[in-house]
Structure formats: C-alpha cells, structure tokens
Symmetry: C2
Subunit: 251 residues, 2 copies
Amino acid sequence: MASQRGEGETTATPLEPADRERARAIPEAAVARLAVYLRVLSGMADQGVTAVSSEELSQAAGVNAAKLRKDLSYIGSYGTRGVGYDVEVLVSHIERILGLTRNHSVAVVGIGNLGHALANYGGFPGRGFPVTALFDVDADLIGVPVGGIPVNHIDEITAVCLEREVSIGVIATPPPAAQSVCDRLVSAGVQCILNFAPVVLQVPDNVEVRKVDLAVEMQILSFHVARRADEAASVSVGNNGLGVDGMVIRP
Amino acid sequence: MASQRGEGETTATPLEPADRERARAIPEAAVARLAVYLRVLSGMADQGVTAVSSEELSQAAGVNAAKLRKDLSYIGSYGTRGVGYDVEVLVSHIERILGLTRNHSVAVVGIGNLGHALANYGGFPGRGFPVTALFDVDADLIGVPVGGIPVNHIDEITAVCLEREVSIGVIATPPPAAQSVCDRLVSAGVQCILNFAPVVLQVPDNVEVRKVDLAVEMQILSFHVARRADEAASVSVGNNGLGVDGMVIRP
DNA sequence: CGGTGTGAATACTTTCACAGCT
DNA sequence: AGCTGTGAAAGTATTCACACCG
C-alpha cells in the first residue's frame, strides 16, 4: 500500500452537502469483506436464492450481522426493512463499487511453480481478471504457452504491458528479483501490484501494493500455537494470567 | 480466525477487569508486522549488519519508526537508548515470541497446481515449517512423491496427521471440498489452518484459520483502480473533495 | 412483527511527542 | 547528542441498541 496516508490533509472538507450521488469513504477492511459477501451472494444466486437477511448472509460470510449491515450501509441502502436484501440487487451494487464492471488485465511475472499455478487459474478468480501476459527470464520458457498465453521475456515488460493495457501486475519471482520487477512494472504504468515474493516493495505513492506472504501467515499461525501452549501450561499449573516474561496473553 | 467473538457475552464486563488481563497482549496487527521485521532482520544479519536503529529498520520494513518501536515494545525492551537494536538479539526475541523455536509440521491437502507449488517450497518459508504430509483424492497421485513426500489418500488424513504430529493444515483443494477437508483436519486435531480455497470455513472456536484469497485481493485492487478513476474524473472537472455519489474519498 | 439503517458507545491501532537512558 | 520506550491523543473499526418502516 502506498504507505503514508494523510500527509497534508487539511482536515478534509468537514461537511458540505452532497453533490453527486451518495456518501461514503469505505474503510479498507470493509472493502475486503464486500468481496467476500459478493462471493457468498453469487453462490446463493446460483442456488436460486433470491433474498437474504443480514443474519443469514452474515453467517455464511463468517462475520456478525451488525458488521455486515454497517458494511452494506457504506455502499447505500438497498435492503427492505422487515424483509432483507434482494440477492441480485446486492450483487450488482457490490460489483459496481468494487469496479468489477470493467475488465482488469493481469500480467504474471515469474513463471515458476507458483507462476504456473497462477497462470493456470485462467481468467483469474471470479472472472473479470483475464491474464493477458506472462513474463520470465528463463530462455527455455520464452514463447512456451502456459495456460494458453505464451511467455515473454521480462525485458519486454514495458512494451507488452502498455500494449495489452495491463492494470494489475502479479509478482511471483524469487525474492531478489522482486523489487526490480516491481520497478519495471511501475514504469510500464502498472498501478496495482499483487506481490507473492517475501520482500517489502518500495513503490511511489500512486501505486497500490497488496502482498500475499506465506511465511508471515505461517508465522502468525505459529504464534497462535505458542500462545495456546502457554495458556494450557498456565492453566495446568494454576493460571495467573501471565505468559512467558510475565506478559499477559489475550484470552 | 475462530470467527464469532462475543456471542453470548453479556455486555463484556465493563470495568471489573482489575489487574491481570492488561499490560501486554500483542495486537494481531503487530504480530503480522513482527514477522516482517524478523525477515528484514535476518536479511541484515546475513549481510553482516549487527546493529540497527528503529529508523533504518522501519524503512526497510515499510512502516514508520514510531509504529516499529511500539511493536517492539510489546515483546519487551531490547534496544539501547541513544544507539539502537542489536540485530541478533532482536531476531532471537522475535523468534521466541512467534513460537519459531519449535518446528511446526505442515500438511498440504489438494495437490493440484497450487498444492504442487506449495509442496515444492520444501521446508516452507524460512524454515521451521517442514511439510510432512500431502493428501489428495486423485488415485493417480497417491504414492507419487511431490517435493520428496509421497501423496496419501485423503481418507488417511486422521491417521497420518496424528502420527506425524501435524500442527498446521494447508487447504489447496477446489472450493467444494474445502469445508469437508477442514472438518477432517479439525477432527485429526489440527488447530491451525491456512486456507487457499475461496470459501468461508466454519470451524470451532479453538481452531485458528488464516485465509489467502486471490479473488479478494484482486477485487481490492480493482476497487482502488475504480477509486482512482473516479478521482481523476472529479479532479479534471474541478475537484471539490467529493467523488462519485458525493462520497468523500480518502486522500 | 421482523429486519434494516444508523447514531452513539466501545474497542482497537496508529501517531505524537517527549522524558529518560546511554 | 541521539535514540529508545511509552503515556496520551488522534484516528479507525466494531459492536450495541433502538428508531423506523415495510
């Protein structure tokens, strides 16, 4: 994420009546959940379900009902009091807000094990994200089609990305190459990057980076294993609420 | 995350908390960043760097210095005022807190493209996470070694997980199979799950789930593309701080 | 009724800013 | 003189609880 949030924000216009349509500033966390609701709703639509209550939908999405309603309120009021939400209506509004009405062309850089797997997802998760370019440095791979797309040499990134109007770059290279690949994507005009390399990318403020970091995920799980072990130990010896180093561990 | 937090919690004890449950309970967000600091520090150690300031380390980790210091303060005070931190010391304390001093045996379920990629990471990211079991339903795969480990049939999950003391289960199956695989892992005693399937898993409270959701990540990026487009449009027509719908857009 | 929409209350995170140690 | 450690302030996010309405 282009780190620095508010730098010179002069207390962003306090009130001032609406000009165009509705009102919001959707919290990042809510955006992530909207994507989940969308998937659940799509599944329901496929099952022929036409209406849901916040309770049902929230259950299926693994959040609580109040949060769900609050999240939905950020995009407008499309429910019916006493009844619930129309599935189709909600789907289309969430799609609109998430920008899923346009297509987002995706380039995958680094066609190793992971890159292969990503390329083979074909038109990426849920459609709307067609993979249109693949890049690698390995001469043996150049020209070989993976998931239907021929691999280009990484030196062609700029030309190919511009030509195919790539809007999202996926980095699946080994760590040492990641920053340089990122720089090249950025200079090719790509403003959104999904990074699988275990590296902290430095990018200009106008570029959005999301990272998927296996090591971090595993380590968070490890932390919870450890927490649990401490807890168990404390309890069996007579829990005093303190863990290692006298730190109080969350319940 | 074992979803439901407070369900029947009767207005969560307002004040009584008295002493014990306070002081240090490491925020989830901080745990994730500690894992990042650890990686950066390990890299520094490999380069022969022996000391860092919060400023240097925070730069490399992509956060600001105050946040870094606060995060480190959760695990104790291991810096030297006026000087900075000893890299080795910090590494070992973070490892201890994250529970990386023990090994966490990992099982991967679903040996498709992604499962292959995961299995071939070999002793998972950063070591300490040896993959010791692989599972699939496909008869053609059973017994075939992937990344050095032979694939077992999914029906053997319970026996194999118990025997190999698997503590982390990784789900890389198609969506429809995910919940059932999850249930089996849980009944085999696995309490930590990393889920790559685009499905919201239902688990008991004592099980920790982390999800890696490609579709969600892409859609978040899509949202930002859309936000940016709106912004650009507003600006070119004379930005009044409001976006589409009169919504205030974050800077 | 029953369920949405939402202000107000609560909880959590991040940032500030400076005292305190080396 | 410089950098850590940390209370306190500011900023976000989540939850409560109830007015409101179909």
